[in-house]
Amino acid sequence: MDLTLLWTIQLAPLAVFALIFILPKNARGIAPLLGLTGSAAAAVSALCFLLAHAGKAGQPALHYSVDWLTIDLPAAWPLGKAVSGTLKAGFLLDPLNLLMITLVTVISFFVQLFSFYYMREDESRPRYFAYLSFFSFAMTGLVLASNLLQTFMFWELVGLASYLLIGFWYTKPSAAQAARKAFVLNRLGDLGFYLGIVILFVGLGTLDFTGLGKDAVLSALGPTLAMAAGLLVLTGVMGKSAQFPLHIWLPDAMEGPTPVSALIHSATMVAAGVFLLVRAYGVFSASEVTLEVILLLGCVTGLIGALLATRQRDIKKILAYSTVSQLGLMAAGVGAHAPQAAMFHLTTHAFFKSCLFLTSGAFIHRFHSNDIWTIARGGGRKDLVPMLTLTVGLLSLCGLPPLSGFFSKDLILEAAKHHGLAAFAACVAVSVLTAYYSFRLLFIVLFARPTAGHGHGHHAHGHDAGGHHEDLLGGLSRALPLLLLAALSIYAGFLGSPMTHSPILVWLGGHEAHFDPAMAVKTLVIIAVGCAIAFALHRDPDASEKKLESSKGPWAMLVDRRFFIDDAFVWVTKQVGLRIASFFDLMDRWLVNGVLVNGTSYRIADLGRLAVRLQSGSLQGYLACGLAVLAVTLLWLTGGSSR
């Protein structure tokens, strides 16, 4: 029974994906329905599984695997011992990924539902739902995988799904560009991941998560190699979870449809890196250095993301940088020895961030613009449902008690505090900045004066007044996911709150959280500071817009150029990578092909021309040659006989 449920979770979306492409053209209208059915099946199965196994801490709920590939090598680097192992394929279900799979399938369902509304005027709708289902398939595969290689395989497949969906509107050059950027940067991270997997496999002879405990890794690899393996796998995490300096693909990924940003680029796929940090915690915790690096990267990423979010005017970019920053916090949590807290924050973040993204989608779809000032002036605040969910989401994001963000962020701050002052300071700074940009967004949308004749806003208004055909189905699929996710953003925190004895933390193998009034006060102060700054700067949105556009200081430039990290990557690609490539190309043309190959053939042709000259047609010449040869032959023969 359990296995059937797992297969349903895994294969239902794949079946939908295949079915949509097999369907004849005129039947493809049912694609959204199919997608919804597939994701509903997966979500229901996941919930059934969760209900059957929730609360049983410790033991894995299910471990099923088959042999997939045998590898054997005689003495292999770096340990010089023979390796003979079988790579498996299977499911390993424990509390950690049971939580994750529920998260993924449920949010996936909400997003499919919302897409029903968001994509209904797009003629490529079937392709959209097919890709979305493919993503669900790959993501569930990643989560359910029983070993690191299988995780890696699905890891790349979710990368493909992300590539396809970022580039969904591929006729737009910027979308095509962003898709390639995302894939290639992820690939860069994955090189390290791949190498890390090879080292772990050579060392341990297995990649099963059950065999990747801290002690097993340490005893098989020794401290140095264990550190190397941990750091290498970490590079993969950096790519997928958008950690500094590989975070630059995520903001560009907003070229994709907004529901995709909600599902893939905030709630689930980008969180896969953090999930892996917790999943293979043994590999990372085998070396203190690795954990310190994770903490450092997390703090830097958190700060950079939050700083960049403060000067955006595109609502999706604000949310994207916020995601980068929150992912940094989660990584910092893992680095500060609190993987359960990170996982908890991942959960709450998934709810409130997907809620925020879907909300932004609702705005964008109605006001035909990503610009917060345009949305605000178009009358965003009068759009009640999104306005409500925007407020809930943002408050949860900045961690206002008792919303879910409060409990999870609190745990990370606490872990950071235990770890050291620098980490704590960084996390506090991130929180202040988070509060600032959240309230900035909220204030601008709330306080902007609607201007009737203003661009897109007017168009949208006219649309509404003229009876925008918001039929019941469309209205429901717009409002329902938003409201449900908002509810989850409010209540999910109780999963880990001290009042309810933090079931989620205990279940994941951690300790019960304790209520620390001082910490709660600190959080409130943090939010108050951020809110106050935001109020001071943005209570007049018109003025703040002018200020944003006119600020030319070095700081503004630094943020607007994204700290020059993108430029650095472009420079390395163009000035180093492509230079070498073009050198090799010239070498191939001129040296290998020109000199060696064609050169040889020309020299042979030259020899031929020499021989042609002998055929002069002059009898005297031939005769002279003939006589000379005869003379030499005679001399040689007589010389030979006289000896």
Partner: protein, 490 residues
Amino acid sequence: MSVPPIEFPILSTILLCPVIALLAVLLTPGRYTTAIKLVSLVASAATLVLSIWLCLAFNAKDPSFQYIERLDWVRSYGIQYANAVDGLNVAMILLTAIVIFCGILVSWGVTYRTKDFFANMLFLVAGVFGVFMTTNLFFFFLFYEVAVIPMYLLIVIWGSTNKQYAAMKLTLYLLLGSALMFAGFLYIYSLPDARTFDLLAIKQQVTFSPMVQNILYISLFVGFGVLAACFPFHVWSPDGHVAAPTAASMLHAGVLMKLGAFGILRIGVYLFPDGARFWAPTIAVLALCNIVYGAMVATQQRDLKYIIGYSSVSHMGIVLLGIATMTVSGFNGALFQMFSHGIMTALFFACVGFIYDGCHTRMLDELGGLSKTAPRISAFFIIAGLCGLGLPGMGSFVAELLVTVAAIGTYPVIGITSLLALLVTAYYVLSAVQKVFYGPENHHHKDFKDINGFQFIPRAVLVGCLIFFGVFPQIFLDWVNASTRALLGA
């Protein structure tokens, strides 16, 4: 699944299918083009069915030769028509059958000198089957030559883009390779212990001194390496790929290049294991050049076919690297890569050929937005590209995994450096996809018609193979594992 052993000479039957079809085609007047195509299709379908049957009936646990067929031809010189199958060639026979089947389907639209075209294709494929099957060095050489000559004609008559130059270059290169190879064979024959061309007899009767092994192995390696596009003997291959007509490119990159790598294993490593060990580090360095250098050069190409040509150079490097590791996993990976690269590159050319026929250009800058104009052919190209960049779930991923693990274990520096190609390949494949298939639609190609149901079949077959073996790699490994183990004496 157990299929009973086959009672009739299956290998000769597979070989005879294209030969009989060739005779039938030659006897058919040229104006009956449909009949000619049908005969070719039936023959290639028959070989496909028979090779699948062979793969199923093949006893994978037995490392020695099976289904041995022998017929004396010139007894006094030890020249025997002798075929046999083991783990090394069983998958190659299947590969050839798949590629020719799809190649015939893809060439359905050939209108210029149809009869000659299909006759050449069948002739070529008979030669390829022969090389893969035979266990006699003389016949190996003979079939090899049989495979080269039609390729010249196919390029010169039905090719494009500088075809005379490319055809001549390819032929000269391949003949240079075969001259080296034949010189080696004659030397072996001349040894007092040998006096035969029979591969198994030579292996049993002759012991080669280390010096001789080293010299013979490297000369055979160069001879075969030319065909496998080993750096620095690779430049014929992109030119040849580009100039050849679609189906010939498919066979050329899909199967012909594999003959070289196959020869290295079948003859080079089999007869001269110590020589192979001696040269392995050198070959690993050359293979690394293939992999990284080929990928780097591919980023600079502007012609879609040249990109695929250089990607083949890069991917064949993985085969050579696998061979250079001299480990079971490396060999398995090399064979797997030969198979999956063969299928993948056939798919590539099946797509590019179609695009060229419709748009009359292959230059990246002149194409754009094809996903909009022709979504199906674009999807197939993108799938091939994804396989090329080693996406999990496709054959190439497993092959690269096996080779990479073996290479990192054997030559850490080379193995780790070769990983760079994963990044570079992703870059050039996706850049090409971005330029050709994404972006705004190009109005010059508005009336480019997408593939229809019939043209869908060969490409779908190829994709199916890639995914099947990518998801169930152990099926393939079970075929080859016993033989590679025996080959290494492990």
